[in-house]
Amino acid sequence: MKKSLLFSLLTVPVILTACGTGGNEGGSSTTDSDQNEGSSGEAVTVDFFNQKPEITAQLEELAEMYSAQSDNNAEITITTIGSGEGSAGLQARFSSGDEPALMMLNGLPEIERYSDALIDVSEMDVADTVIDGLLEGGTIDGTQLGIPLNIEGFGWMYNKDIFEQAGIDPDSIESYDDFVSAVETLDSQKDKLGIEQVFGFSGGENYIANQFSANFTSPEFNHSILDAYNAEELTWEYGDQMKKYTDLINEYNVQPILTVDYSRSVEELFVNDQVAMVHQGVWIVPTLNEIDPDFAQEKLGILPVYGESDTEGRIPAGSPWYIGINGNHDDAVVEEAKSFIDWMYLSDEGQEMILGDLAFIPAQEGYDPADISDPVSRQLYEALLAGETAAMVHNQYPSGWFQQVLYPEFQSYLDGEQSWEAFEENTSQAFSEMR
């Protein structure tokens, strides 16, 4: 009796140890179990790692629609980690061996990190339809590893109503000086317009600082994603323009600027007509639609940033997200993953979802601009087809540079803690070091 008690006590740690070693081999064991599932004809599960929390619900709906029409009994599961933690989350998934089959990747540095796992997607049907020039953002050493998810663009999102009431014609803004005088006009009529300040710039979000910087680094990198990715240094050739803008924002922004976060800036100030402009992108459209269904249709406009010179304004646009397919999984899973992506972009239901609930600007050619529901997205799609946009070079900066260097240094300048020269010097030095 006593012996058996002793025995059972001793077996517990042994079992625990066994579990421990099982976990250590996570990578291979995941694949094994997937293989078993695939070959036995049971449901194939494809896990999609999503880094855009705002589209989780729509992706889940897409996944269900796909499962419903598929005869393979396939199931797509969506895992979402976003708001700046996505890449760390993805890294953790890979380190632990629990690799997703499909993943959203942010720019070439991230695609390169996982390039050993990713498969060549150039043979897929969807690849042929992608807008020219977008594929290079997903290509490492000549191999195309990512499908652009959608097109996003950003700039000064402004409230047309407020501009109109202040007597400003947005179309007449054709240079930096025009922009400044518009800002001054708005500022002088703050009380009449009922706005708190002209700008609701989020000085408390690192990605906003990152995106804002792209206006001024894109011309330095010849508006090319590849040039930015290969750049060994950042000289702030157009830093003076950025300084001018930064000073202008800081003067006419809701203060303290460093504590203005995304939700305050967009969901509170901008959508409620409390500020005239925010530096944001088209991804705020679904949020705006939720709060005020007419806002995006009737009030939303976008103005470029004059980053290159006082007269040359461009809106940075491109595909910040690329979908990669993990080749470390069993063939059945990889095939299912490919077929999901093809279905998502090429089937009628998928395309309807892309333009409708997802409110994407499609990264594929062949859509009628008139089908794109909100005017800003339409404007961007047309500008991109015409090649009049700046590049999303901010996704090609060295890993961690914008969170650890650009953002704190930028905040430090905004707060008057350091000079612009120091900002340029510190960020530029760290850029070379981290590259």
Partner: protein
């Protein structure tokens, strides 16, 4: 024969915990020391010797975070223990049901996770304080968390809010264990309340100080969640505590080897400080 059997039982009970500790703490620590000698990015690693540790000495942000964390720990440990002991003395007064009610209230913030507390207080500091500033014109309430000083005190206040109740519970249990004869004997000898507190209760509380100081010190050094939710290092990385600095190095810059060397240094610092503290306060303890 009997002794041998006893010995067996002893090990049978202790081995599960030992194995758990080995796999969860000791093994990662050893592997971590190995990683800290490489330039690992999470996948590929090349042995680089001690160069990570050398670089640490010239890493301004790391040294800043270390200083900031130490300052935070000192302020927080002192205040938490003062407040915790104060609360404990208050709620051990003979007030019947009321004192139970207050014990619960003071302990409650500890039941809320650091992330949630951080977000709640971020709202209070940024929005509610701004509202107070607008309504009253008091500039004291303006622009909280927008500069380093208010960021620091913001962190301290939230940490106090979270930990004081917990430390209070520890003090209560030790206060309750002080034999009343001792205090009565003191009173007969003519000690007033003040003297009774300092000369009798305070010395009898020495073991409580050992535990409380250890808990608060170790926790203050290791804070991450609250730091993330409240300030996330802003403004300009000036409220980035050491744990966050390590995490960011590992998961934003993907310099896992370098981050690991920071973690090892951090571990040594916390271990040395905590053990010294335990050693020093242990000496003050009296056995009855």
């Amino acid at each position: 024969m009997k002794g041998k059997k006893k010995n067996l039982y002893y090990w049978a009970f202790i081995i599960p915990s030992l194995l758990a500790i080995f796999f969860v703490i000791v093994l990662p620590l050893i592997l971590g020391i190995g990683t800290s000698l490489t330039n690992s990015d999470g996948y590929n690693a090349v042995f680089v010797g001690l160069s990570n540790y050398k670089n640490l000495l010239s890493d301004k942000q790391f040294l800043y975070s270390l200083r900031f964390t130490i300052l935070f720990a000192v302020v927080a440990v002192v205040l938490i223990n003062v407040i915790g002991l104060g609360l404990a003395l208050l709620v051990t007064q003979k007030m019947g049901k009321v004192s139970v009610f207050f014990r619960t209230i003071f302990f409650m913030p500890n039941l809320i996770g650091g992330i949630i507390l951080g977000f709640i207080w971020q709202f209070i500091f940024v929005r509610a304080f701004a509202g107070i500033a607008n309504a009253t014109g008091l500039s004291f309430f303006n622009a909280w968390l927008a500069d380093t000083t208010t960021g620091f005190w913001g962190l301290v206040i939230v940490f106090l809010w979270q930990m004081s109740g917990y430390i209070m519970i520890i003090y209560i249990s030790f206060l309750a264990n002080i034999p009343s004869e001792l205090i009565e004997a003191g009173q007969i000898d003519g000690a007033n309340k003040w003297q009774a507190f300092w000369k009798i209760k305070f010395s009898m509380l020495a073991p409580a100080f050992t535990v409380s100081l250890f808990l608060t010190l170790a926790n203050a050094f290791k804070i991450y969640d609250m730091n993330l939710a409240l300030t996330n290092g802003a403004p300009y990385g000036s409220t980035e505590m050491i744990a966050m600095n390590i995490y960011n190095t590992a998961f934003f810059q993907y310099r896992q080897g370098y981050a690991q060397s920071k973690a090892i240094v951090f571990f040594l610092i916390v271990a040395v400080i905590s053990l010294t503290q335990v050693f020093l306060t242990r000496r003050k303890e009296v056995d009855l």
